[in-house]
Structure formats: C-alpha cells, structure tokens
Symmetry: C2
C-alpha cells in the first residue's frame, strides 16, 4: 500500500465518539425528540486544584474537525452493527447545521464559564459531545499549564519539547496549545507543518555518544560535526560527560561565537551560574544557556534569578503539569426554550442558555466575570469596561468568516495576561483570579 | 474536499518526530558516523512513585506505525526547509531496515527493563526515537493504571469511558491499552473499529433532560423511549433527579427484567446498597448496578464490599491515574560493539546491548528480573524457571511473522498477573514487585 502524507486529506472524525451518543440518537429519532431545538454548553465546573485561571484552547481544532464529522461507508458499517437501518441512513446524510457560540480561543476561563454554546436539534448537537470534549479537555489542559510557565519565564525563551512523553497525535496538538499560550517553539515537526509552529532543536546525548571510538570518548568530534553541519549558531549539549570540560571543549571547537550550550541534568541553578561564568571567562559572552530536564513552572520560577536564556520544557507541559485534562463537561441546558438541569446529590449544572461578560476597571484590570441568561440585556458596568466573552463561531454549520488565526489568538492571550490581577498570575495555589457571578433570569442581576 | 474514512489509508508517521532527530541525522550522514551500527534501548529509569509494576503497551501500535514511517513529498518539503538536499534525498529513500527485539506487549516491566532494543545504523535508529517513545510512554501509562483497576475490580466488569477527557486520537489508543490490561469494553467507536475492542454504552443525563416538556420533567418518557429502542436489557441512568424515584420509575417502565441501572454521582457505596435493596424489593434481582463518576483504583477498591456489578471508568484510566506518561527514554547504548553511556551528575544509563530474563519459583511466583549483556549466556536458575523476556519483533525492518494479536497479549497479561507476589498486586504505594538485577559483562553474574 502506498503511504500518503498525513494531513493532506480530511479523514472522518465521526467515530471519535462514544457509542451512547449514537444509541441516544436512535431512541430520540424514534420518539421524535431528536428534532427538538436544544442548547448544549461546554464548561468546567472547577479549575484544577489551586489554579487561578484556565486558558481556552481547542476552538480552532474543533472548527477544523467539524466539516469532517461525516459518516462515510466505513463509519456507517460500524454504526450498522448496533443501529437500525433508518438511523444509519440518517447518519449518511448528517452534517451539523446548527450554530455555535463560544469564548475566543486564547481567552481565560473560570469555573462555570460557558466556553461553548451549541445550538441545534438534539440529534445534531448530541453527536458532537465526545469530539468537542476531547479537543477542549486536552488542548485547554495544555494551554492552561503552558500559560503559567510563560508567565514565570518572564520573557525568556520557552521551547516545547515534550512530544516523546505524549501520544504522537496529542503531541502535535500539545505543541499547538503551548504555542498558543506563549511558548516560542516546539520540537515537533508535524506541529510545524500542520500549524506553522516554529520548530527548534539541536542534538541529543546519543549524538555525542555516537562519536565514541575504540580509543574512547570523543566529545570534540561530535561538536565539530554538529558545527560543520549546523554552523556556530547552534546549541551544543554539554552534559554528556563532565559539564565543565564539555563547555571548555564546546568553545574550543566553536569559538566564542557559539550560539548556545544546553544542560539537561544536574542542579540547574548552580550549573547556570558556573557555566555562565565559565563562558564569560572564555570570552563567549553572547553564548546562550539553554536549560532542560524535568522543568515545570515551579522549577522555572526557581531559576528566575539565574543566568538562563531559554528553557526546554517536556513532560510537564504536555501532561498539563499535574492536570492532564481540563475536566470540562458538555451539558444539555435548554430544550425547546425550557431551561433544564440535572438535580442529584452532586454535580449540578445550571439550566438555560447563557452568555458571559467580563468587567474590568478603567485601568484594564479585570474584576469579575458575569454569566447571564442568553435573552437578558447585559448591563454595561458603571465605571467599568465590559467585554462580551461569547462570540459567534459557527452559523448554519459553517465557521463564521474571519475567525482569528492561531497567531492572532496567541497575541490575544498575551495581551490579556496583563489584565489579570497580579495575584491571579502567581503560580502558588489559590482561588480563581476573579470571581464568577451567575445572574438568574428571575433576579436579572 | 471529499471526506474519506479514517484508518483506511496508511498516512505517513514520519513527522511525529523531533526536529533534532533530523539535524543529528544530517550531521551524522555528513561525517560518516550515521552508518555506524548502533543499539538503542527504550526503558523506564523508574516506575511512577509507589507503583509496583508497569505493563508494556504500544508494541502493536509501533509495529503498525513502522511501515508508514516514510517520507513522502509533503514530509520532504518540511525537511527541505532546514536540511541539505542530500539529506532530503536520503530521507526520500529511507525505510527502517534494522532489527528490533523487545518485551512482549502485555508483559510487566520494572525499572531498567530493556523494553525495546533497536539495532541498525545510527541514522535509521535515531529517527525512530520520538515516535517509539510517544507510543510506549502513552500506551504503557494507560495500561499500567488500567491493570491496577482490573486487579482490584476482582472479576467485575470494567468499562472504559474516558474518551472525552483525552485527546481524540489518544482516546482511541487509551481504549486499546485499557482493553489490553483487562478492561471489558470501551465507549469509543473508533477503538471498536480500529482494534476490535467491544463497544459499550447506553444513555447520558441529556437524554432524560431532553424529555422535559412544558409540563415539567418526564423521566418515565425518557426510559420508555430508551427501552423501546434498545430493549429491556439496556442500562437506565437513574440519577438525573432523585435516585430512589429514578429506580422506581425504571422498574415501573421496564419491569423486573431490566438489564441494569447506572448511578453516576453521589456516595456510591451507600447508593449501591440502597439501590440493590430497592431493586431486590421490586423483584428486579438480576438487574445489574453500574457505577461511574470519577472512579479510580482506590474508589473501586473502596466499593469492593458493595453490590456493584460493573464500573465505568473515565478520567483516571485515560490519564494514567496520576501518571499520564510512563517516563520512558530511548538511549544509545552501543556503537560498533562498544558500550556507551552518559555520565553526568544525574541520569545515568547502562551501556551495552542487553536482554532480560525473569525467574520464578516452581509455584509460578516470579522472584527476580535479571538484565544480561546481550552476548552472555543466560543461566537457567537453579530450582527456578527462567523466562526469556526479550523476543524478536522486527527483522530487516519487517515485523516477525506470528506476533501476538491484541487478544493474545491481553490473555498473556491476564495469566501473568497471578505470577506476581501478592504484595506486588496491592495498590498501596511500595517498591517494585520484584527486584531487578543487572549483570555486568565484567562479572558475568
């Protein structure tokens, strides 16, 4: 079989779906309720423990996946194993034709924020549940963790290099989400191709070890080879053997114009100072120091006073730094204009379609997020600026023209970061950066 | 653009790769070292904190991905942006033609176990690093967590329903890994299609809420609809409103032959007893109780004494229950027959190609895993049975014929579980279930 290139053809996304979406569909089509107009909302009941904010990510990927949410023969064959022929025929003709509103990609979210509002018949909306949640739960978990790292890195370069610690497809989406959140580049080539994320990378320990001969180690030979291939602007990995010797050899081979050295193990703070001093003494004052090796936002914060120029972050960013999923849910909130909600011992949801507004002081610092019933008029805050958080994303099944690009969403988040109260930007555990208030239809405020 | 079916065409897996693999390749091809015969090993330095064993998963997926690790025009276009034309031409003709040995999929692993040994030229082996690690780190993390749940579920049914909490493609692989580890079924339809994992699922709260009318809630109408569509063997979700009322309505509508009821929230232990009593009182003695709602291995263990028939597990299994990645690494251990290893302040690796044997008492209980230099003869343990853990997987780039199917690997693990010492099967934190001993070439033992 010929191997084709990934990403050149849209493949069906319809089976990234839980079986029960389709059995519910069948029962709802049979009893007529499948045609009822509904609103589903996607939101997180809470933030991961101690987190101050979440970052919405996945919107762009959902909009890419939506046109491919179609059932071809192969998907229908799976459905036909447990569905009636009439349901299978319905699926053959299915395309989502409803409306979707939601938060901008790259915006903050807090507990209860209606990140996505999906309007359509029950039948068409219920089918999107698993796919929408998969995308938002993954991408938002990564972006939320990444934003904390960006915030503590305080302008220093951040390279996402965690592909190897994540599922190969999740790694591509993780690279996108980290970039959205402000990372500078990724190691992942598929993310570079698919999303235009700048790719970075130099060499691994294996490359130095490869230059071992019967006469023993030969770090200098590995460095020579890398420089003759990539130029003196490259970054040499100096901790395969002895770091001090590695740095000395690096400058000996490359000269003081060497682009950078990378250190991937050891006590990074101590090493950063030592290596900076050594580089300066060797005249390599502009050679950058890149640190990697199990860094997370706390380790990055710990290195804040050290002479580190760039951080390579792997495991922690692609696994959401302790929160690998955003815990978002997709709930039916309105049927035929009637607000509905689950009422049981736990796990409440709030009925009725909603939209959200965030209020800020004149200084730009946000103070409160308010969730309104969709039909209520939203007050402009007195002495405050009000930003509508709910914007149109899909109309009649088609993405609204002119939605922001990944770069634009990245820029949007970058600007928004300064609007959070300063204590909301700390990485220490605490409450959400701003309170969320729910306005009920009854009170109007 | 026409939408084609996922999985019907092999798409290239070549760009699931870190950029530095390709820049190392270019430098190594240029200086001649790319042709040196090498051995890379894939292993975990340690298990996640407190874990007693890991489960190898991903082997089958790697072997599926290997033939598609080819550079077509689209992949070469990406490579051409930063590589010399001669390297691009080399990639155009590339196919992996080396040998791979490794542990059986579904076998246990412990710290240092050489799960995969990749033999070939540096150039061809280094390219596989990211893809191999992505697959094994993800799949083994899921299987290792899932096996703990299977072990404490003690024969009760386990349904994997976590797709919505994981990246949409990772969810498919997670369903496969959980099934390998002994889960009975998955909610994920793509996993059913791609890997033949049995699919399960009934209804969500949305389906009950959908049947709300202007006159108010109508749980009975939702139950009627589900039963007329799926039959009385279905499982009804009874916790949308009041659980006791929900159970009463369910049996009223379905009769005592109802297949099952599902409870997704609340104090599951207390509810299980109450609902069992209520069902029995209503004559529904064979109606099963399915519990879901943030279950992990500890919650499942806590429900051991309760009358629960099946567990639906979501978030915890697809995120590895606290360990979302297995932390495996891919290290160059031998060049031209010379053992090589990194020596720095931390992160040691052991040089030289290795193979592994596990020793068991005559009773079948394993006692020790021993890692030998590849060329040494492995002693048959005195009074013990020795099982070679390293088996051929790929020869000359082609998968060895007759490798186990997913079902066979699942069966293999199931049988192996009873070989662990009993304390190694507990879910409480502790040391690895058995010690691993490294035999050096120098001592021979």
């Amino acid at each position: 079989m010929a191997v084709t290139s990934a990403g050149t053809k849209p493949v069906s996304t319809a089976l990234f779906t839980d079986k029960y979406e389709l059995t519910m569909l069948e029962a709802a089509l049979a009893d007529g309720s499948g045609a009822r107009p509904c609103v589903f909302e996607l939101f997180a009941r809470k933030l991961p423990a101690g987190r101050r904010y979440g970052v919405v990510a996945g919107t762009g990927r959902l909009l890419d996946a939506l046109p491919a949410f179609r059932f071809g023969d192969a998907e229908l064959a799976v459905a036909a194993e447990f569905l009636e022929p009439s349901t299978v025929e319905w699926l053959r003709n299915f395309r989502f034709s409803g409306n979707i509103d939601g938060y901008r990609e790259g915006d903050f979210y807090f507990p209860g924020s209606p990140i996505l509002s999906v309007h359509g018949t029950f039948a068409e909306c219920v089918l999107l549940e698993t796919l929408a949640l998969s995308i938002f739960n993954h991408d938002s978990a990564i972006a939320s963790a990444a934003a904390r790292m960006v915030s503590v890195a305080d302008g220093r370069t951040l390279i996402e290099m965690g592909s190897r610690r994540a599922h190969e497809e999740a790694a591509v989406s993780a690279a996108r989400a980290a970039y959205l959140a402000g990372f500078d580049s990724t190691s992942n080539l598929e993310a570079a191709r698919r999303y235009g994320v700048p790719a970075a990378g130099t060499a691994a320990h294996a490359f130095t070890l490869l230059h071992t001969t019967a006469h023993g180690r030969n770090e200098a030979s590995a460095f020579h080879s890398q420089i003759s291939s990539l130029g003196v602007g490259t970054t040499l990995l100096v901790d395969t053997y002895d770091i001090t010797q590695g740095v000395a050899t690096a400058i000996e081979v490359a000269g003081p114009e060497l682009g950078g050295v990378r250190i991937d193990s050891g006590d990074l703070g101590v090493l950063a100072r030592q290596v900076r001093r050594q580089l300066d003494d060797l005249g390599a004052r502009r050679t950058k120091i890149v640190m990697s090796g199990d860094l997370d936002e706390y380790a990055i914060a710990g290195l804040r006073a050290e002479p580190v120029d760039a951080y390579g972050v792997g495991t922690s960013v692609v696994t959401g730094s302790g929160a690998p999923t955003a815990g978002m849910v997709y709930k039916l909130v309105e049927v035929d204009g009637i607000p509905v909600e689950k009422r049981s011992t736990a796990k409440e949801s709030r009925g009725g379609a909603k939209r959200a507004t965030r209020y800020a002081r004149r200084t730009g610092t946000v103070v409160e997020e308010v969730i309104y019933p969709e039909h209520l008029e939203v007050p402009t805050g007195e002495g405050q600026t009000a930003t509508a958080l709910t914007v149109p994303l899909v109309r009649g099944g088609e993405p609204v023209p002119g939605l922001p690009t990944l770069e634009e969403s990245r820029e949007y988040l970058k600007k928004s970061m300064v609007s959070l109260p300063w204590e909301g930007l700390t990485i220490s555990a605490g409450d959400p950066a701003i309170p969320t208030r729910f306005v009920t239809a009854a009170t109007g405020r």
